[in-house]
Symmetry: C2
Subunit: 580 residues, 2 copies
């Protein structure tokens, strides 16, 4: 590893090509313009004053530009992480209070430390344990919760903060009479503006237009006097340096949510980084370095009043489409936010919260993925249920619980499936040396004195009994005393553990006592290594291993000729129905 591997900016900055500057500049400014409304809106999701969304859009972007391996990734506040922040800190302090803010900042530090350490210890692979259906179910549920959490701002009524969708909806219904219709109209206007702008041309900054529209409308018509809630005083100036306040109890309380944020936010970030990188190919995205970069961004941010950040989906896509070629784009984005903090905060005084709510709602409702659920219903029923359970658990039990249950369920299902593996009896495809599943292929040939079995799984403690039972059944199905030889086709056995080797050794011994010959074919390298170490090669006998099923069958026939009268070798044709 060279220094460049730890600090990828040294890779691209010294050889920076001036022709990349216009792209980086326009992309950086476009993303910066998006960041202003999004940052403020997402801070609101997190239960923080809007200004903290802008604070989180400064230093973390610069740190990522130094350390990140992606050249288009746009780091900053995102909806999902904001929701997780609210879920984690919400139970410990009143939203918007100083304690709450301090906890959110401490959370950024924890998240950063976890990510940094995961990266240093090269544990980036952990994120692979989040399956597609779990992510989809979780994201849809989180989007629903986020969207509904903004209902109060859109309708202009008081609704108690809750992560239980039914509570929010019920309370909203009882308060329909109190709706501030002016607020609602502004919010709806924002939604129409953002969606319309996007449809017209994806480069038009819809959210910014909505902000301008909202501010002018409220300011021009004095709508705050009609009960339209506005952002109000936004303190100007840059975030100040401060050491995050941490106590032992804070660590214990925040650890589970910090872990969830560290993994979920990394997952979101690496997914988009890899997707964008696939289009460029002039650099590589390295998972563990990404963890280090995001970790450092969160740690550094925590010292300048930032709450947890990550690489966001929509802004990264815009960054790329607007021509970003290097991390310089992010530096431009951060600079725009710095200028905003220094000079433009007074402009947000009249910004109606309903506009921020409309920004959020448009962003997150696009994340509710009904199509994937429909697809899975047809393509993979068990994955469909995984999605639904994760979705419902997230809605009903909570954000962290939802993803936890999803992960445990999806891993449990993998274990469960390998514990009841597919075991096929094979027969010869007539006139060839191919042997295929007798239940699937029409007209394959089978002999009474020969049982050919293929196990489609690693053979290990959780499925060895299942394997024994199934083979026993297949043996029982043969005419009494006709069986002479068992061929175990091991080509799909990808691993074997000590429990399975113990059992296999006993099984083969039992079979031999019954006068059966046991032949094994197609053992693969890693399994052969295990058999050598476990001394099973000696137990089974080297002469009983064959390269292919056909060779083993030839061996069996040879053996039969030598040791007894030539048997009838009656071949019979199986007439089973074959699936498509």
């Amino acid at each position: 590893m060279k220094i460049k591997d730890y600090m990828p900016i040294l890779e691209w900055l010294p050889s920076y090509d001036k022709r990349q500057l216009p792209g980086d500049l326009s992309a950086g400014l476009t993303v910066g313009v998006m960041l202003i409304p999004q940052g403020m809106a997402y801070a609101m999701i997190a239960g923080l004053p809007p200004i903290y969304g802008l604070y989180a859009s400064t230093l973390p972007l610069l740190i990522y530009a130094l350390l990140g391996t992606s050249r288009q990734l746009a780091v900053g506040p995102v909806a999902m992480v904001s929701l997780l922040t609210a879920a984690g800190v919400g139970g410990l302090a009143e939203g918007g209070t100083e304690t709450y803010i301090a906890l959110a900042i401490a959370l950024a530090l924890f998240v950063g430390l976890i990510q940094f350490l995961l990266g240093v210890f090269r544990l980036g692979f952990l994120v692979n344990f989040l399956s597609h259906p779990v992510i989809s179910g979780f994201t849809s549920a989180a989007a629903l919760i986020i969207g509904l959490s903004q209902l109060k701002h859109l309708l202009g009524v008081e609704i108690a903060r809750s992560h239980h969708v039914h509570e929010i909806v019920l309370e909203a219904i009882t308060k329909l009479g109190e709706v501030n219709w002016t607020t609602f109209a502004i919010g709806l206007g924002g939604v129409v503006l953002i969606i319309g702008a996007k449809r017209l041309h994806k480069a038009i900054p819809g959210p910014l237009l909505a902000v301008v529209f909202g501010v002018l409308l409220v300011w021009g018509m004095n709508l705050q006097e009609q009960g339209v809630k506005i952002v109000g005083e936004v303190p100007g100036g840059l975030p100040s340096f401060g050491i995050p306040q941490i106590q032992w109890t804070t660590i214990q309380d925040l650890l589970p949510i910090a872990l969830a944020i560290a993994l979920v936010s990394f997952m979101e970030s690496i997914a988009v980084a890899k997707a964008i990188q696939a289009k460029h190919k002039d650099y590589k995205v390295i998972a563990n370095q990404e963890l280090i970069a995001l970790g450092a961004a969160n740690i550094g941010g925590a010292f300048l009043q930032s709450y947890p950040v990550t690489g966001g989906f929509s802004r990264t896509a815009i960054n790329d489409q607007s021509g970003a070629k290097t991390g310089l784009a992010s530096i431009f984005s951060a600079s725009l936010i710095v200028l905003t903090l220094l000079f433009l905060t007074p402009l947000f005084y009249y910004l109606p919260k309903a506009i921020l709510a409309s920004v959020i709602m448009v962003a997150v409702f696009g994340l509710i993925d009904v199509k994937e659920a429909k697809h899975l219903w047809k393509a993979d029923r068990s994955d469909f249920w995984m999605l639904i359970v994760t979705f419902l658990a997230t809605l009903g039990l909570g954000i962290e619980q939802g993803i936890g249950i999803g992960v445990v369920l999806s891993l449990g299902f993998i274990i469960f499936r390998t514990s009841r593996p597919h075991i096929a009896e094979l027969g010869q495809v007539p006139g060839t040396s191919f042997y295929r599943n007798v239940e699937r292929f029409d007209a394959v040939l089978r002999r009474d004195d020969l049982l050919i079995i293929r196990l489609d799984a690693q053979l290990y403690f959780a499925n060895i009994d299942f394997f024994k039972d199934r083979v026993h059944e297949l043996m029982q199905a043969r005419p009494y005393k006709s069986l002479r030889t068992i061929i175990l086709n091991a080509e799909s056995i990808n691993a074997i553990d000590s429990t399975a080797m113990h059992a296999l050794s006993d099984l083969i011994e039992d079979w031999r006592k019954e006068g059966l010959t046991v032949l094994i074919t197609g053992v693969k390298g890693p399994v052969r290594d295990s058999l050598v170490k476990g001394h099973l090669i000696e137990t089974i006998g080297k002469e009983n291993f064959y390269m292919s099923v056909q060779e083993a069958v030839d061996g069996h026939l040879q053996d039969q000729k030598h040791t007894k009268e030539p048997s009838a070798h009656q071949l019979f044709v199986l007439q089973t129905n074959v699936e498509a």
Copy 2:
């Protein structure tokens, strides 16, 4: 399912062959004679007065004889379950008190209910998730804890009850000065007698001899006056009927340990039942019916003052060796215990506790399995560590925690291993149509324009990224722009999930954009079903699926001839070192 399936006694009793009677009678009495000292000793492990070990050796045996599928299994108190009982109830009440006894009986009811329900819902397979190394590590640690818990009885000193081995050993050392040497001599005599009798002939009831020796010695020499602790007054008569006392808090406190006992005791029982059945073959052991039978035995027992029981290893072996052919043997054993309870309890007054300790110690130290650990060190290093961690966790953290950690670790390892599967590049074995791993086989042939990959695992969410990275590496290793065709040998892919199908579909699309042809060979039935449902057959194109690698290679060559100049087709021989 017929009534006989639910009550196997109806299978063997109506057709009972009188010639089986001598075997059943002698086996039943032999096991009964073992049960007297063992039952009392194991009750002591459980923290109960010795008589409760005899109570647990009555009704449960009769119920199992009615419902159990094994005909030799000897049900009753066993060391491991007694230890688990002590671990579970010990934290809730003072050992030997009425509350303690009531809790131990309630525990039998819970264990019985759990087992019964697991059986009814056919969840017997759950026990397969306990791997050999985990069981071995757990058993060795539990045996050590049990053995050391008897040190106080063997030495005749007071040692506080603890499940932490180091605490027991340290306290024993500080109390060496207080050792009652007469007690120690009696205990040592018991150990020598039991081991000696076993060596002489396995049919000699060593523990019973030790009991007789101890009672006579203490009674004849009045050793109780020299401080030798004796069992004392043992109430005569049968256990009385009583409804187990259960409160809601009891349920919550006992549930985790009840679950652990239900599974561990079932595992011990089914393992020995299957091992013995393999020698007989005139009946079948059915896991779910065994759960129902053991469950009913525990439930019924709980109404007659019994604590949790299961099928024991050593007594079952003796039962079989002594000629047991049916459940009648167990009925004889129980009858002997009933007679003992009615008439013989006064004889146990002078029984020294050191003798019971010697019975326990000899029994459990045989369970410490150093050989397995040594074997695993050579045969399977990761299983070795699994054993060691389970062993240490059981000693250091506790009985339930130990087995819990073992199970989670062993399942986690399976997941981890499948998340980094073996991926091989294949080459042609010269002059054949076999294709083998280029890193393992000498002199296999490889072409620059052709990459043949075999993935040895199910392809799913946790390994799809690993797969993509590895294939990318292999592609990069080819001379620039030389690659034309990728052949994915799917014969070892045992399953594919929706996440993997999404990714595979994207991957193939990317490759095609680069002008590569993608061919897939040897897809197995279950995977083909998934590909059909996920519409991947259309994406990939039916014409790109081949039966074998050789056919795909032929297809590739054909294709090359048609579409471009005949390429050089340079074959080169790989000279890698091959592992044994």
